[in-house]
């Protein structure tokens, strides 16, 4: 009788503590967590040479040993075809998970979240994440406001500025459920499926959890 009571008590505690999700999602999460555990044991950090290759492939600002920001590589214009090419996953050179952040210099929550994004880039790029930022500033800011802000942030991820006359097809190409509000952050797995998205200022812990999962699942 005492054991039965103890079991029921533990059941109650477990139910209160568990996050509210439908039963199917719980099962899927549990399976994913198990798979994560298996994969985590299998995954090894990239070799120093591989990590260096990934770094060299990224073209943006770098900090010197003295903390002075070095010049960034230019921000590139991105048209509609370019964004579709960027989002197409599964074939070289787009075999890695892709994190895309849409932002603008005039967008306050975008500016506020940027230091967190820079830290995330530093922590995850060597683990095989491809991270790009896409500014929707006016193209007139291509050589002024956008690179100035990125330099101040010491951002190293490749930076684009969207240059399209009609934003509607771009927004739908990224995510048909997205209305176009900024900031917006999307994580695509290596097959091009959205596995995480957030509109508004990111919650770094949530994004990091999604990144850990998608990088471990590779």
């Amino acid at each position: 009788m005492t054991r039965a009571a103890l079991a029921l008590f533990l059941c109650a505690v477990n139910l209160v503590a568990a996050p509210a999700r439908p039963a199917l999602a719980d099962a899927a999460t549990t399976r994913a967590a198990v798979a994560d555990g298996v994969n985590r044991r299998k995954v090894r950090a990239p070799s120093k040479r591989k990590a260096a290759t990934i770094r060299r492939g990224r073209g943006s600002a770098q900090s010197s040993d003295f903390g002075e920001p070095l010049p960034t590589s230019p921000v590139s214009l991105l048209d509609g075809a370019g964004i579709k090419q960027l989002l197409a996953r599964g074939t070289p050179p787009n075999e890695r998970p892709l994190l895309v952040n849409f932002w603008a210099t005039w967008c306050e929550p975008c500016r506020l979240e940027f230091p967190d994004l820079v830290k995330i880039d530093a922590d995850y790029s060597a683990r095989g994440l491809q991270f790009v930022t896409i500014s929707i500033d006016d193209p007139a800011e291509l050589k002024t406001g956008v690179p100035k802000f990125l330099r101040a942030m010491r951002a190293r991820m490749p930076a684009y500025l969207l240059n399209v006359s009609d934003s509607d097809p771009v927004i739908n190409a990224v995510d048909p459920e997205w209305s176009g509000e900024l900031p917006a952050t999307f994580l695509f797995d290596r097959h091009g499926q959205i596995v995480f998205k957030h509109k508004g200022r990111i919650k770094p812990m949530d994004l990091r959890a999604a990144l850990d999962k998608v990088l471990n699942d590779q």
Binding site: T2, R21, E181, L182
Partner: protein
């Protein structure tokens, strides 16, 4: 002793039941989030205060031939880029029976600021303050400026952007005006949903 065990068992059973009930309620609350207003849906009447606290209903503000609801902001550069265009839209269509109504759902922008901003920017159409972003939630509005154009019967016939360019010099598509003109001419709206970038609506929970 057996009686004591029975009490313990009953207590644990009750706890388990309460926990299951709480869990079920949380799941139900998540499932019951309202769906955004879809094209073709009729918008139910609602009331909101203006920046002076006077309450207005959609029924009282609606135009004879249609109503343009625009979610606006005081601090969003995109919304501000459209101030003149929104004021001109209201002036151009008022005589044709289409009224423009602004809704400010940003928790970060108090009513006094909405009033000052409207006066400074010469926004002469009514602007309502949506405390708690309840009407934004009901519509599923996400950013500013975001337009919902209702026909005379309050049916949603167009949703999305005003036009395709923040800079007026680059406008090549006047989607909202096209939609209004189509409705006034008794024709179907060609493009019912067109998206644009904008500032996210600052909800209390965002």
């Amino acid at each position: 002793m057996k009686k004591q065990h029975a009490y313990t068992f009953a207590l644990a059973l009750s706890l388990c039941f309460v926990a299951m009930l709480a869990r079920t309620m949380r799941v139900c609350a998540a499932v019951e989030a309202p769906a955004p207003v879809a094209i073709g849906a009729t918008v139910a009447d609602f009331t909101l205060p203006d920046a002076d606290g006077a309450t207005h209903s959609l029924a009282a503000l609606k135009g004879k031939n249609g109503t343009v609801l625009i979610f606006v902001a005081t601090r969003c550069p995109v919304s501000n880029a459209y101030n003149e265009r929104m004021a001109k839209l209201a002036a151009d269509y008022q005589a044709r029976g289409v009224n423009v109504v602004g809704i400010n759902s940003n928790e970060t922008e108090p009513a006094a600021e909405v009033k000052t901003h409207a006066a400074e920017k010469q926004l002469t159409f009514p602007i309502l303050k949506d405390a708690g972003s309840k009407i934004a939630d009901r519509f599923g509005a996400q950013h500013t400026p975001e337009v919902y154009f209702l026909n005379a019967a309050n049916k949603l016939v167009y949703h999305g952007r005003i036009d395709n360019a923040q800079n007026p010099a680059n406008i090549t598509a006047n989607d909202l005006r096209d939609a209004i003109d189509a409705v006034l001419a008794g024709k179907p709206v060609a493009k019912t949903e067109v998206k644009a970038f904008g500032c996210s609506i600052k909800r209390a929970t965002s």
